[in-house]
Symmetry: C2
């Protein structure tokens, strides 16, 4: 426990702000990100001076740009910038990379195809988190808000996030750090900022992300590591009854790694189950040693 953690005073403001690689703190009022959420982003955990799972983040960023038709040029600049900022960070850090389609050349939704992407890079201190959340698990609730289903946007980490914002706003209980979200037709999709896994009869399952949700970097890592370790893991359609039947539930994202879930709404799941523990042990070295990715 270092001084920052003891004081609990980790800044919630970035210590580095770059726009297109330059030290600027503002973007054009005409940016299409501002008007339409017309962009994609990545949130990258940096540990011991290295960005974790950088290749997977870059892959998703490129896919998001391709899907939305955002012309980001070479992403090598992004990779270099991320690596350098991670190296220069005192300790652990969070990097957020935002790529919008750029400044609007015309009024309205239609883009000309000539827009030049805007890149915003933010570096934040690693946030303090109660260590019990990853060791003993978290309480989660199910969000009342249901996600719209749209295959065209499913999987990518785009900037249309009003659904997640409204779902988070349903509760301000600091002891319930995440909410599970169902789609309009009743499919379990994800948390507001995490992916979700269920264990049913020793099978590991996570929602297929064909109508919504973000294809999380840690979700990919968990599926890969589970497969390598011989755990029966699959993506499928899941609904409320699957959640109710699950013997274990856990959440993943690139920063938190794996959070066991110890209760969903009023239903207690108890201590982290054996498959959750097994996967936590499998991914733990990857979380602290980026070289192993």
């Amino acid at each position: 426990v270092n001084a920052t953690r003891r004081s609990g005073a980790v800044s919630s403001q970035p210590d580095v702000i770059l726009v297109d690689g330059r030290a600027e703190r503002s973007v054009s009022v005409l940016d299409r990100g501002l008007h339409f959420g017309d962009g994609v982003f990545e949130t990258i955990a940096c540990r011991f001076g290295r960005p974790r799972f950088l290749s997977l983040h870059m892959e998703r960023l490129a896919l998001g740009c391709a899907r939305l038709g955002i012309i980001a040029g070479t992403l090598e600049d992004v990779r270099d910038e991320v690596s350098q900022l991670a190296r220069e960070s005192a300790d652990h850090a969070i990097l957020k990379i935002l790529l919008t389609r750029g400044t609007a050349l015309v009024r309205g939704y239609g883009a000309t195809g000539q827009e030049k992407a805007t890149r915003v890079t933010l570096r934040y201190a690693w946030p303090h988190e109660d260590p019990a959340w990853s060791q003993e698990g978290v309480r989660v609730r199910t969000a009342a808000l249901r996600l719209g289903e749209n295959p065209a946007l499913a999987g990518i980490k785009h900037c249309n996030r009003l659904e997640q914002i409204l779902a988070r706003a349903e509760s301000t209980d600091p002891d319930i750090p995440e909410a599970l979200m169902f789609s309009h037709s009743g499919k379990l999709i994800s948390g507001t900022m995490s992916n979700v896994f269920l264990v049913e009869e020793a099978q590991l399952r996570t929602p297929r992300l064909d109508v919504g949700g973000v294809s999380g970097v840690m979700r990919r890592v968990v599926l890969r590591e589970a497969g390598r370790a011989g755990v029966d893991a699959r993506e499928c359609d899941l609904h409320a009854d699957d959640l109710h039947r699950a013997s274990e539930v856990f959440l993943t994202n690139a920063r938190i790694g794996i959070w066991p879930v110890r209760s969903v709404d009023e239903r207690a799941l108890g201590a982290p189950g054996p498959i959750t523990r097994h996967l936590q042990r499998l991914v733990a070295p990857l979380l602290e040693e980026p070289a192993h990715e």
Copy 2:
């Protein structure tokens, strides 16, 4: 036909840019509008120095802020600013008002409730448009992309517009200025930037906007004027077969007023029908005389 129209060189860039009422051209890189599309907007037609249907725009803006929990303070400032900019415009103009939740105070989707809204105001020249579009009608297509269904976001003019952007990007044919959009479950919702009305057996129908779409200002005006004139007009669930059966189809938005539709994909509808013409005559005075609103 004035000089600008002859040259076809109406600027696509705003001639006035204000941020929170001040002449600035940029916003903070931490603005939640930029990161999440966390905001609402209005596009207001100004004719002869007056903003058209201002009360209806202000009402929708206030509703959007309330639904999203954006604390915009009094909207009197917005009303005053809009009126003044309309008065100062040389001729006709388009005003865009964007209200975001403001600069992020913390990282992530969750807002603290202490954010202060950012207001961006843009004034554009009135765009040139082929007069045949309102007189003879437009060709429209149906978009391949289907809208996600979400009652929480339906009706308001929020800034999560990737669906509309992708739908517009499906075609760049300048002779097809609009695309009709269906929802994920097959409901007809609207155009990408307009509302849609159908005439079936002398009944005027427009999609109910309970799962998607924007509650358009001109849509409200048309429903109101139709009701006053004794036209049987109703909001209901509409699907592809209703569109196929319709004898008349027209589009509305605050700028264009009413555009008759002369073809949908390969199906020709011919010259504007009698109910479309009737409604165009009813709303015409309102479009040029804001005092009558």
